[in-house]
Subunit: 291 residues, 2 copies
């Protein structure tokens, strides 16, 4: 297993090249796609995918195109989420949002382009490696990104603003809007490694708990975080009448749930022995993150 | 080989069920997706995919999920294309556009959802049928739908409005914005059938010529068509300063090119013998369409 920064370096080195490897892409769509792809961020999803594949005894080279595809899916969701008709955020990671920098039309197309590219990159792997693993990993990524996953969660998030907050709704939103895209790298990475079914199930369990914890922390940072450190405005959830964990449990209740959920995530790693330490550290780091 | 209406019936019967087969989809996203999917249209792309598979000696049951996926991709592109930041069309096939009926946020998400669903449906086939054909067919559909295909064409269409009209630009837009999604069904259908390489190449050739002819006719209808029959306003291209075949060649030049291109499409079918008659009829029908 490598360190977070070593996996991160692999992702950074291959992200835009993997996109460009698809063939001739008009500059006017390549620019906004690369602008948002290069805006940085922690690359937590692709790093997790590489590490999960490593943890399962697989080759990271085979996981790399999937890691890049997953980051493209995450990036498309941020571009569309920031649009005026959605969350209307004009800043992302301290820089103008894609639609502010390139216009709404190109931001919509750049999002569509990144989602298409992600699917294409994974399908290319399925054609190159007909052993079934690539197709299965691609299917799990697209399932968790799609209408029964992230897009479903986004929809409930958007349409349940200013409605009575219920645990069922908050949980659905957190699980699908956020946790699905943190579960996909565990599932896909372990599938690519050819891991056993119970290991894949444990990975899914970890991803879901980590995802819930991640969103609880996000909700907390929106209340207690530092806008300058976060690179985005705070207090937006309450303003928009969002269904958050805070609205359900309050700040202290959320903090308690966050600790418990982090413990549950770490417990799920038991099956991996010391190979699970990478993800244990990741879960603990998430508990103390400030951005 | 069946008739157009028989293939059409197969598509109509399976389209929404195929979408719903993905699992639990929140009603708030299912509604706008089904609204736009059910808005009718000629279903020319999925019908072509079924017929191409049949022409190549394949089983239409294996082609059906791909036909549905392709119609979902076409529908997502229409939903996003109609958005205020894009072509700003408030009507589609005589009904309110998706964003008029459901709001911009849900229209963006419904488009994202349909594209994701299409990819997921094709990947599910690739996992179910690990013979390589499904993965290859899915890759060709996503490639023609993505940044080197339709999304690329859309981008050039949007960004070259009110710029000097050149043949290179018009041809790029027509080939990618329109022809790629009419070429994909030929290529994917024949791949699924296990057709020989020269047959697949002939199918691609036919699809590209048909696509160019289709867009020439579209440009002509925008000038000479009947808005009531078309179910959309006319004269929009000139108003928006679009790069059209009309702007390049004039009405009479476009009509001559349309006849020539239709002839070229039909010539490409030679390799299929009498099995090619379905597509010959389709090309001739397109030459005389009024909507």
């Amino acid at each position: 297993m490598l360190s977070y920064d070593e996996y991160l370096k692999m992702v950074e080195e291959h992200l835009t090249d993997t996109l460009k490897s698809l063939g001739f892409i008009p500059q006017r769509i390549l620019d906004p796609m690369c602008y948002s792809l290069s805006a940085g961020g922690k690359r937590v999803r692709p790093v997790m995918l590489l590490a999960a594949c490593d943890m399962g005894g697989g080759k990271t080279e085979r996981a790399l195109p999937f890691a890049c595809a997953l980051e493209m899916i995450h990036t498309y969701s941020l571009i569309h989420d920031d649009l005026p008709a959605m969350d209307n955020d004009d800043e992302r990671r301290g820089k103008p949002s894609c639609h502010v920098a390139f216009g709404e039309d190109l931001a919509i197309l750049a999002g569509d382009g990144l989602l298409s590219a992600a699917s294409e990159i994974m399908l290319r792997e399925a054609v190159l490696h007909p052993d079934g693993r690539a197709a299965a990993a691609a299917l799990c990524v697209m399932r968790r990104a799609g209408v029964t996953g992230m897009v479903g969660g986004q929809t409930v998030d958007v349409t349940m603003e200013n409605k009575p907050v219920t645990e069922e709704t908050v949980r659905y939103i957190h699980l699908h809007k956020t946790a699905d895209l943190l579960t996909a790298p565990m599932e896909a990475g372990l599938i690519l490694a050819g891991a056993a079914r119970d290991q894949i199930e444990a990975g899914i369990q970890f991803g879901q708990k980590l995802g819930l914890a991640f969103q609880m922390m996000d909700d907390l940072l929106d209340v207690e975080g530092d806008a300058a450190v976060l690179g985005k405005r705070t207090g937006l959830d309450d303003q928009a009448g969002k269904q958050t964990w805070i609205a359900l449990r309050g700040v202290n209740g959320t903090k308690a749930d966050l600790e418990r959920t982090t413990d549950e995530a770490i417990s799920a790693l038991h099956i991996f022995g010391t190979s699970g330490n990478f993800f244990k550290d990741l879960a603990l780091k998430m508990l103390h993150r400030v951005q």
